[in-house]
Amino acid sequence: MAERILKNISSRGLKNAVKGNEYRREASISYGILIGGYILFQILAAAGLIGHNLQGQFVPICVYISLAVSLNLVVGISGELSLGHAGFMAVGAFSGILMSRILGQSMSFEPAIIIISMLFGALIASLAGFVIGIPILGLRGDYLAIVTLAFGEIIRNFMNVLYFGFDGNGRLRFAFNHTIEGVENNDRIITGAIGATGTKTMATFTWGLLLCLFTVFIVLNLKNSKQGRAIMSIRDNRIAGESIGLDVRKYKLMAFVVSAALAGMAGCLFGLNYSTLVPVKFNFNTSVLILVFVVLGGVGNIWGGIIAAALLTVLPETFRQFADYRMLTYAIVLILVMICTYNPAIKARITGIWAKINPVKKKSGSSGKGKGKKSRKGAA
């Protein structure tokens, strides 16, 4: 009987079936892009072929890659729309900066400062993720999205009234208004809306790469573990997930908290790349920007997100030649790219044209048309 069923399956159905497990492939492509890109750009930079503009973007690109990958954990793998990722980035950035300043008083070994600050940023951001996640993860779909948006705004609003500084004895103190007891105004580290100033910029491209590798490592590993499978199965079918004994809230929360921690880490490196950082930076637009990376790279597709994050960070810079029309061009490109990647008819046409001009012509086009669509559409 078994043989018969198999024959049935292979003769009728499997023609249209899609191979699904591509972890190895996904991992090798992701790591390959990151390491290859790093080596390539280091060489180009050493050879003097890259201008200041692009070199200056190495760290932010890495940060955005890391943010895109971590947001993918929520949007792609857990299947929930989050519009407040920048909030966690902010928490990580400001707590990481604080930690770096505290450590900076007694330490001068930068790698240790960076690592401890990033871990601290991740810890605080994951706590924020946990506190926020517990009440809201019972919500569904767009309602969850609006609540994440709300929390992102609340975090930022809160940052606007948060003041930190060292008092005379080098101890950290904080307040919710301008005057912190015992702290000279010049010794303030974080000053509400003015943000953090006087941060020692320690971030380098290499740290950026390490951050990206670590993020990708965690997310891919998680995806390919029992927890990741539980998260994805709840995404695919919540009721079936419950029916096989998966605690929906627990696994949604897990994805949310891990994602927040990674975002906090990335935020910390971002904070350490600029001597000043204002809370306004982490507004709704930044959250959306990260979401754009994820959607454009293909929801759930890690390496797609990496490429999209890198390209879309650089893109507005290359549009500087359009001067006044820069952001307009960006908007138009964004709309066109979305339509071209997601509209089925246009996509089929592009794929068709590409198949014709494809330099490596393989006669393996036996598979059905709709598949690429299906797999890329993701958890939309």
Partner: protein, 358 residues
């Protein structure tokens, strides 16, 4: 975050490694009266009286009488708004019984499954699963207690592979924590290796090992149904609830399925309770059958009894007994059509319904 190692490891400690052989030895198993034989009722002459509140212990196959029943349902009922969907439902299911739940469309069969698995909270009545009341338990608790189900409109994890679908079901017996999962420690590797082998063993039951790497959502319909059963089974249940397992299958697939269900019961020594419109399957493997109409039990008994029960025929045909013979002929054709149609309908409704859930 290591998950509590629960009792289900020991639950069916049956070696399923040689499932390949099981198929070869099938002949033997099916003709073994002790295990696969037809249920014998204590007093089969006595007709089931639906109006008597709780009269039901007697309907247990002989082989299960010395063991406590796996499931006892007393006066179960549920209202939606003012509408009573199910009322006064009683059931006792033997430890290794294959029970059937039939009835016309909209009779409330799936609602009963949903109450058993706590997708819906019953308005009235009690459910005792494995001797314990399920009051206050959630769907998750129910599964952990040892009840697993499939769905009428298939609910697979579409974007996961076939193998992963089984592995998810093995979640609670996979013994490593979040940190192991994120860092892929040796413990992770060891456990993953083990559950991969175990998942393959489950896939072997339906001969689906070669499809292991395909996305579940891209499988043909019949294979999806089988995978769903495997997934439920992999949670190591004591009771397996199957909601129209043969919907959308052709007759030969159905008879294969029938044999496999029986084999699963025999090998794992679990109870199976199934909803089905395909009478050949129901009559072929069910030991006890409950017939539901308008949310109420109208008949209980063994297959032959049910087949000849006037109330059942009335439920399916409407009041046709007193009519002319030719009309009866026509009605009979209709019944067959209706039964077949029921099957097709439920098959057709599978896909669009699933979309809603996403």
């Amino acid at each position: 975050m290591a998950d509590k190692k629960d009792m289900r490891d020991e639950r069916h400690d049956i070696d399923i490694s040689d499932s390949g052989h099981a198929y070869e030895n099938r002949q033997e198993i099916y003709y073994n009266d002790n295990v696969g034989g037809r249920a014998v009722f204590v007093d089969s002459k006595e007709q089931y009286d639906p109006d008597e509140p709780y009269n039901d212990q007697v309907f247990i196959p002989e082989k299960d009488r010395d063991k406590a029943p796996i499931l006892q349902v007393k006066n179960l009922g549920i209202d939606f708004g003012g509408l009573t969907a199910v009322d006064n439902f009683n059931l006792t299911l033997g430890r290794t019984e294959i029970g059937g739940l039939i009835g016309p469309n909209g009779a409330g069969k799936t609602t009963i499954f949903n109450m058993l698995t706590k997708v819906y909270e019953p308005t009235r009545g009690e459910i005792f699963f494995d001797g314990k009341s399920t009051k206050g338990m959630t769907t998750v608790d129910i599964n952990k207690a040892g009840m697993a189900r499939t769905f009428q409109n298939i609910r697979l994890f579409d974007k996961l592979t076939v193998e992963e679908n089984i592995k998810v079901a093995l979640h609670h017996t996979t013994n490593y924590g979040l940190i192991d999962g994120m860092l892929h420690t040796p413990k992770y590797r060891h456990e993953e290796f083990r559950i991969r082998k175990e998942a393959m063993k489950y896939l072997k039951i339906f001969g689906m090992t070669k499809t292991a790497d395909y996305r579940a959502g891209s499988l043909p319909y019949g294979a999806q149904r089988r995978l769903e059963i495997m997934r439920a089974l992999a949670t190591k249940p004591k009771l397996l609830l199957l909601d129209e397992p043969a919907a959308g299958m052709n007759p030969s697939e159905t008879s294969e399925l029938m044999e496999t269900i029986r084999e699963i019961r025999d090998r794992f020594q679990i109870a199976v309770f199934l909803i089905e419109h395909d009478m050949s399957l129901v009559m072929g493997i069910c030991e006890g059958i409950v017939v539901l109409n308008y949310g109420r039990v109208i008949a209980k008994g063994w297959p032959e009894e049910i087949q000849s029960n006037p109330k059942v025929i009335e439920a399916y045909l409407g009041k046709s007994r007193g009519k002319m013979e030719e009309e009866e002929e026509k009605e009979k054709a209709d019944i067959e059509k209706a039964l077949r149609k029921g099957r097709l309908e439920s098959a057709a409704s599978g896909k669009p319904d699933r979309k809603e859930g996403e």
